[in-house]
Symmetry: D2
């Protein structure tokens, strides 16, 4: 059997002239942890079909500590910035990146930039924090980000001015799609100027919808909280006559939280996600199916991802927002209204409780699983930067961590496959029909 | 020192002709638990000022098991109904009342009526459940009420018809102000007919605003959840530039949840309750104080009881609802709008996160404290009913349980005293001014 | 009706020459919180029996802020020490006492003494910490005590030397029976020297066995944890053939944790406490009753207080410890051995899981209830000290806080009353016999 | 690049003559979930080194629903048995397997066998439970196994007699190494008799040490609990003078729980696992390193896997047990004794708190992650059995589920690689030396 695999190249700042201070070896079996050799790759496709020759898909460079470094650790100045909405684990990532830089590499100065990319624009007036071990003690037990965050970008030229003036060698950008795109622009600007600054992304999305990332930190914690809230919605629904618990969870383009919470709780009777077209009306439409369930069982729990059913609003026309972006429609309150309207018209008594727990889900501390994941992402990002990799993000798939070019990560979004195993399990857990048509 | 104390009489159905089956004694010191003698009273006022003669306030009949019963346990049929909104501990109350009736008194039939007072109106079509030990196993670990609940009343005559036709001797009504008033009406109708049915109330209010009840079950659990959510609001606020976490909690007429959560979490910077007039404008008004805090400290956490600032809507005039009832105004979204407006006008950047966790707070299982409290309330309600007391609620003050006539319980509401110790502690914990004028 | 009530005197350091800086009033109804007048008393007995003249029991001085102070706040130096075993809420107490002293009274210097009374003996070499607002931020969310603690006393003369040399005016001693006795000795030594130092105790006992204290902080939290562990023991017991879950909880002289956890969880089938004599052998003895339960129901959960059944060891004789103190016998492992022996001899298969969760129970952060309680105790202790009260502890009963002389607090211990309401509820919840004879 | 991959064959009972009742398709893109084709394989090795030809390692048959079945669902009788120690998630596995069989395949009869393999030996007298949807409602929220469990095996011939007499077609064995070995023996005996019974294993080990299983259910939940307990140990240690928190966790042959908990909590200063030789004495030995840490930092937290340092007991000689098995030595109490001895000899004051939370860790309900994992394992086991696979276990690696022959699974154990990434992260988190020599 033969196969063709594409090795995904990663941009390097230059020659690695410095020896790593990490006490690792290249020998397997000596009881000493190992450096990762530069010609170690990780497969992305692991399924093999039939007998014939198969395309093996991309090979990514394995992440981990390198024997040779581009930056001289004792002369390196690093900075970390957290951007976008909150996500469990941000403080863990900051802490682990700092600890790896400080204790393991001996980097003398690590700055925490304040309030997202605003912290790279001096006009905003947010001085960076110089991180110390005392400062990060216990922050991993707290939700939020102690560096502060914000949405939106600053001009790349302004930010690179700042980085160069402050003589920052390494910049870690923790954030989602937009943040990583911003990091890519920063790197382009640096490259244009011929600068030698490593820009490394650490993917952050509670929605779990970043490509080449099997699971992002914060997602697991979000399931834990969402599961609890589904349980409460179930308690509400079961305690009322034809009680309906309607819970809206995060998930603009992907239904991973809704689907995962439905699986974890086993209490949802309907899971609505962006990937499966939502039809409300008609005999097989959601409203009639819900009505039948209600009459038969006396209660129902619905979990809906915020991005589900957005095409419903095109029909409504006037509910689009100023910029014509249907994304901002609130499916939760819309469903609440449509369900109420439908059941009233059908003379079915009901008691609907609508819960929108978004800020609660995203601001809790990381659970165990995510705490470990944050530590893994952060330390690997440090290894990547110190060895001179730039314009990359840490990727994670099949249990392995690797390097992905920022442009590749941000070229699309990951979604729940409606024909895949996760969605089949959701259908089994909820008993809902495969399609609303 | 002398004092005048008023003994509060409780209505009895008649002579107690039956011996209690409980294996208790009347002797102190024999190692056997004791019956409560009918001439045992509990003081309500425990503070004594100065030297002179003081009025001792009301004396309530102590609750607990009586040696003589009005009902013959083996020929008694009991029923339990839960009414109104959810509150942690409902299942615990049902369970403990059933267990006391079933195992300790040997009452052969205990019915669970469905969906609040609807369950007493046959037209609604909800058959009661005959409770069994298996049915109540583990329900105390679940939120909600497995009997179902509903708001609103049925006609007393209809309900008494039902009770008499079903030959129910003892009715336990678990609910708030309205429910207990309904129970009083049921009892009046029974009395008018010369019936011998004991109607006993078990006070339920997550708001903790029932008179002669130092603490109602569910309140302690609500603080535990509200505290967590204030912590999350704090995480949101601290992570944003001039972040504001605004949390609306329950409390229509009383600010006990808001005040208690502020004390328990120590993270709120402002606690707004119905008992303290809210002024938004002016130099000392809430909006300016908030602005100054924001500028000085960069974040703020606000917890507001749903009943706070309702008089603000009289000014707004057009925001009153159809029935002219200012109670239904949503102070949470109003505050969100007014704060945003104010800060924008003052050119103060901010990031406000509004959290309304009501359904989450009320549908969780009871914590330890409330589990014990529910057991105490429920078993004492059973003792009261079996000894022929009717038209009463179980009261709780100064660590003691007693009997209170339903009319007395529902004659007013308990509130946070703005000059009292609890509110002083809140002012100390938040650092907010005593007054907004 | 007349009654005789004894007013309990509290020792004062002298005349109160300074006005309180707290912005409170003496007028009720002005919307301003009130000072507590010195002639305000709190009843301890609240039950009244029959018609005749009754003895009203002791009257305690109500705790709270006084209008006149003995110490001039701006010239006061205060110190806090935490002693004995861990208890949830220690950090909350330190924090609230500091905040009240610092922000409300404006006391310029508050020291945290290290490692219990060791911190008052310079020979031990533990320098005190000067507390700051930053230092106490969030400590209330952590278990343990950030000042450190230790068991055992130092010589009173040495400690008073230290207090006088450091010019400490006010000393807060947070601890149990022994600690409060130590505080009393310190105060005696100061008095002997004619010093003017206020020594105020804050009672701390997870066992909840301190007199004149209806509930001590940490106890409520201990029930929450113990309840969970009983649930786990139940899971173990139910999953095995004749599974037995045996859980030992704290409670040297009093069974409040065991009894409270049994009530909160409703999963224990046997609750063994020091107050009820334990008999193992004989037809009505514990071992036979357990065996019968096992055969009938297939599993059993036992919660035993560490102080239960200590007299069993007198029979065993040789199991007494060197100092002849039967208290140190481990009833948990003893029961485990005796149960195993008995069931083996009776050829009853079984699977016993023994859980000793002591350190887990005592090192968790305070729950909401205890967080509030800690705040209440701590601020009242500060009020007492600033007004020149000394040799006192804060007491708590009937929902009210008051002052109790240290000698009175430490003159005995509180216990579960085997004829009282709590124990009756435990018997009802477990179904166990009243006596093992 | 070419590679040689070995396809791992799985034993089939025979021809698949029945169509699956699952409404899936074979077409990708039709919006309908897909059957797994029999020639779909999953790679086990995903790392590729260098340029040359690489050995691809084993290929496992992908797990999932098949289009053709060996058993006719409506005529199939299935049985589930849970064996060995408790592990979070057992009830979830039973529930999901039952639901998949009952609702999706329409299998009319699913038995729950009681108390492990005892339930397959009629002499033991444990009648099976016939599972119903009501019975499994909410069991996934409870720890333990409602079927009961036990350790140890029964004779294969006896068990197969039982299976044949009861006409059981499909047997699911949920358990660890020993259980799966037992399942293999059952299958061998069936094969010998020419029987057509599918025996499918579902791996269960809280230690996470089963081969070809990247993560077993229960492991994630164990980390959550162990992390909390490390936090409490930290609270104890920090609150005492030279406080030491020593926590023993499960892990007979593999240190995954200890290592994972150390990573998740970031509070352990020493993590001792079976895979890294423990040396106590000498300048670089554990006791001296601990002493130096204590003197420098004033506290220490140690997490030790139960299987760590077992070779220490060979030296001690007389501490071996009757059967000569060094595995049963209690490293926790041994370490406690040795540490105490050492520090006393060195005149270093200390305060050691030893915590053994095993039963607490294993009896909690499954967390979200494990709830999902249980569902995935259970449903795939059902698919495997219905399609006539036998003598297999469900495997899980690289994010994919597959079939592994039982003999292969039980041929060895998974361990923490002391040179691998997990252990490197632990060393970074604890700051402990790589070796004790």
């Amino acid at each position: 059997m033969t196969e063709r695999m594409e090795k995904i190249a990663v941009r390097m700042l230059g020659e690695c002239r410095f020896a790593s201070p990490l006490s690792l070896s290249n020998e397997v079996g000596d009881g000493v942890g190992n450096f990762v050799r530069d010609d170690t790759w990780v497969r992305y496709q692991i399924e093999v079909r039939g007998e014939g020759s198969t395309s093996g898909g991309p090979l990514f460079e394995k992440a981990g500590p390198r024997e040779r470094l581009f930056f001289s650790p004792t002369q390196t100045k690093a900075a970390i910035v957290t951007c976008g909405g909150l996500c469990p684990g941000l403080n863990n990532v900051i802490r682990s990146a700092f600890l790896e830089l400080h204790y393991n590499y001996g980097v003398p100065q690590v700055l925490g930039l304040r309030y997202g990319y605003r912290g790279l624009n001096p006009v905003r007036g947010h001085s960076p924090i110089r991180l110390t071990p005392e400062m990060v003690e216990r922050v991993d037990k707290q939700g939020g980000t102690f560096l502060g965050t914000s949405r939106g970008a600053e001009e790349a030229a302004v930010m690179v001015d700042y980085l160069q003036r402050e003589r920052i060698d390494v910049l870690f950008c923790v954030g989602g799609d937009g943040t990583l795109r911003g990091a890519h622009h920063i790197q382009e600007e640096i490259q244009r100027r011929g600068g030698e600054i490593a820009v490394v992304g650490i993917p952050k999305t509670i929605d779990n919808d970043i490509q080449y990332c099997w699971r992002t930190f914060g997602y697991g914690t979000s399931l834990e909280t969402a599961r609890e809230i589904l349980q409460y919605a179930h308690n509400e629904a079961k305690s009322a006559l034809n009680g309906i618990g309607l819970v809206k969870v995060m998930g603009r383009d992907a239904g991973f939280i809704a689907a995962g919470a439905a699986l974890a709780s086993q209490e949802a009777n309907f899971t609505l996600i962006p990937e499966v077209p939502l039809v409300l009306d008609g005999e097989k439409g959601f409203l009639h199916v819900l009505e039948r369930r209600l009459v038969a069982r006396g209660h129902a729990v619905i979990v809906v991802a915020e991005g589900a059913g957005q095409d419903l609003f095109e029909v409504a026309g006037d509910e689009r927002d100023a910029s014509g972006n249907p994304r901002h429609h609130d499916i939760g309150t819309y469903l609440k209204a449509r369900i109420s309207e439908h059941l009233r018209a059908r003379h079915v008594p009901f008691d609907l409780k609508y819960i929108d727990p978004s800020y609660i889900i995203r601001s809790v501390p990381a659970n165990s699983e995510d705490s470990i994941l944050c530590d893994q992402f952060a330390r690997r990002a440090v290894h990547a930067a110190m060895s001179g990799r730039t314009d990359v993000s840490v990727g994670f798939a099949n249990g392995a961590f690797f390097h992905v070019p920022l442009a590749m990560v941000t070229s699309g979004k990951k979604q729940v496959n409606p024909e895949g195993e996760m969605w089949l399990s959701v259908l089994a857990a909820t008993g809902q029909p495969r399609s609303w048509r």
